[in-house]
């Protein structure tokens, strides 16, 4: 095969590889009639919402209480003499 045949074949393949340009077009507007939609199945959720009542958590301050009188014992002994 001479050089000219090869050149010719290459040019012919390149001509076949070019495809036509595709243009996609999306739907600009679509209407759903929700009232017309129907879901088939069994309703298992409760019909109404309920919240269980509970008391508000209160944080009580740790108020002062005398645990012991140990410092008084030491003080009394130290003030004896």
């Amino acid at each position: 095969m001479n050089k000219w045949t090869a050149f010719f074949l290459l040019c012919s393949f390149a001509a076949f590889a070019q495809e036509p340009k595709t243009i996609y077009e999306y739907k600009k507007y679509e209407k759903f009639d929700l009232g017309d939609l129907e879901v088939k199945g069994q309703l298992i959720a409760p019909g109404d919402l309920s919240v269980r009542e509970r008391d508000r958590r209160r944080f009580e301050l740790d108020l002062y209480n005398r645990a012991d009188f140990d410092p008084n014992i030491k003080h009394d002994i130290q003030t004896l003499r």
Partner: protein, 472 residues
């Protein structure tokens, strides 16, 4: 004047008894009435001896009993520990107790024999350590020994100072029991133990507060308030306890008498804030002084009354303690001895051989005197600083009560509730009493025999009711 006359007459007698040319020994000094100088001479003498003779140790014991054990506080403990004398053992045991070295303290204190002056106090220290170690049986035994011995000595001694010391000591021995029961949360037993302390006891006014805490913890808030109101009596005017105000506010709070509690809290701030600031100003101005608080303690009750109320009342409280009385008595004795020795020194010719040791002795007595002044000054200052620190700590606690009251009042508003009575007042029905107690109405007068037996009759106000919606 009479005393001075006797003193002047006695001067030549000392001069005859002491060989002034040589340094006299402790026995000679003691015989001449120089007990502090004698004690110093005897300690120095014994420190040099390898084998201490029993006669020397007996003399040391005798001198310590005359001067009080505090006179030995400045000597080296290593030197003292070689002197096997009960007073010295007591001193070493007490020092170890102060440093919280219980084993060392016990080792020395158990050596103090039953007949000894310091035996009851040694037993009190042992009881305290036994309580800390959780040895209940031992604690009770030591307390009993202390109470019995101190009570017996209080009856035997003639000196008012010693009588007071032993009486207060005996009170301390029975108080420790009530306090340890309180600590163990045995409040009912603690109340019974406090009830055994006589109303005439020196400590009784201070113990009212402790007893009130015990009632508070058994939820008898009315009795707690009743005990605390005793401090309002004119008889207990000088006993002011800021903690009593806190407990009053807390008792009202537990009864849900929030407004009453708030009144007490406001009174606390109005009363204590300006006074504490004044006291703090005075303390800070003199905190480095070595004599200011000592001088304050020397003022007469009339002079103290002219001072700021807190300062005068605190000085009065400190002055009632046995330690102050003992230190003050020791100071008078040391000062008298120092003056006498200085007087003898003045009569000696300038080249006399005795001048050397006498000058040393006068200097030593000066140091003892200075030490006692410093001791009185330090303890008075320390007590006053502690008081201020307590007031600030308690003020913080009261602030918490105030916050809690505000929070509870807010809850009532949000919950559309109100307390069952806006202001519940008392009735006899609310007073808990034993069959041995009778009740009389309070008509604004504090009768001495009724002090400490008051009770409020307030109804608990903690139940809530739904608040009615306002009518349109």
């Amino acid at each position: 004047m009479k005393f001075l006359f006797i003193l002047l007459l006695a001067l030549p007698v000392w001069a005859q008894e002491i060989n002034w040319k040589d340094k006299p020994d402790a026995a000679q000094l003691a015989e001449a009435g120089f007990i502090y100088a004698a004690l110093d001479a005897q300690v120095r003498h014994l420190a040099k001896q390898k084998d201490q003779e029993s006669a020397d140790l007996e003399l040391l014991e005798e001198l310590v009993l005359k001067t009080n054990v505090e006179a030995l506080e400045d000597y080296d403990r290593g030197v003292l520990s070689k002197m096997h004398v009960a007073s010295v053992h007591f001193l070493l045991g007490r020092e170890a107790w102060k440093e919280k070295k219980a084993k060392d303290a016990q080792k020395w204190l158990v050596n103090v024999p039953r007949w000894h002056r310091y035996y009851p106090e040694a037993r009190l220290l042992l009881a305290d350590m036994a309580a800390d170690a959780g040895a209940e049986g031992e604690r009770e035994a030591f307390e009993d020994q202390c109470f019995e011995a101190a009570g017996k000595r209080a009856e035997e001694v003639n000196s008012p100072l010693l009588k007071r010391y032993y009486t207060v000591l005996a009170e301390d021995c029975i108080t420790i029991r009530a306090r340890k029961l309180y600590k163990a949360a045995k409040y009912t037993e603690a109340i019974e133990a406090y009830a055994k302390i006589n109303k005439r006891a020196y400590k009784w006014p201070y113990l009212l507060l402790e007893k009130a805490w015990a009632f508070y913890n058994v939820q008898d808030y009315n009795r707690s308030l009743g005990l605390l109101v005793t401090y309002k009596s004119p008889l207990l005017d000088s006993y002011f306890e800021p903690e009593a105000e806190v407990l009053t506010a807390l008792s009202y709070f537990r009864l849900c008498l929030y407004d009453d509690s708030l009144v007490v809290i406001d009174q606390f701030y109005n009363n204590y804030k300006p006074r504490t600031e004044a006291l703090e100003g005075m303390l800070n101005a003199h905190k480095n002084s070595q004599t200011h608080f000592f001088e304050l303690m020397q003022l007469s009750p009339e002079q103290r009354r002219q001072l700021h109320p807190f300062i005068g009342q605190l000085a009065a409280q400190i002055g009632q303690r046995p330690r102050f009385a003992l230190d003050q008595a020791s100071l008078v004795k040391v000062k008298a001895e120092s003056d006498r020795l200085a007087q003898v020194l003045q009569t000696l010719p300038s080249n006399h051989r005795a001048r050397g040791w006498m000058k040393d002795s006068v200097a030593h007595l000066g140091a003892v005197k200075e030490n006692l002044v410093g001791r009185i000054n330090y303890h008075a200052k320390k007590d006053m600083f502690e008081f201020i620190s307590d007031v600030y700590a308690l003020s913080e606690e009261l602030f918490k009560v105030k916050l809690e009251i505000i929070s509870r009042k807010k809850d009532l508003v949000y919950g559309s509730k109100k307390l069952i009575s806006d202001r519940g007042r008392g009735s006899f029905k609310q007073v808990k009493s034993s069959r041995f107690e009778q009740f009389w109405k309070f008509h604004g007068a504090f009768w001495a025999d009724e002090l400490g037996d008051f009770s409020f009759g307030l109804a608990n106000n903690c139940s809530t009711v739904k608040k009615e919606a306002p009518r349109e």
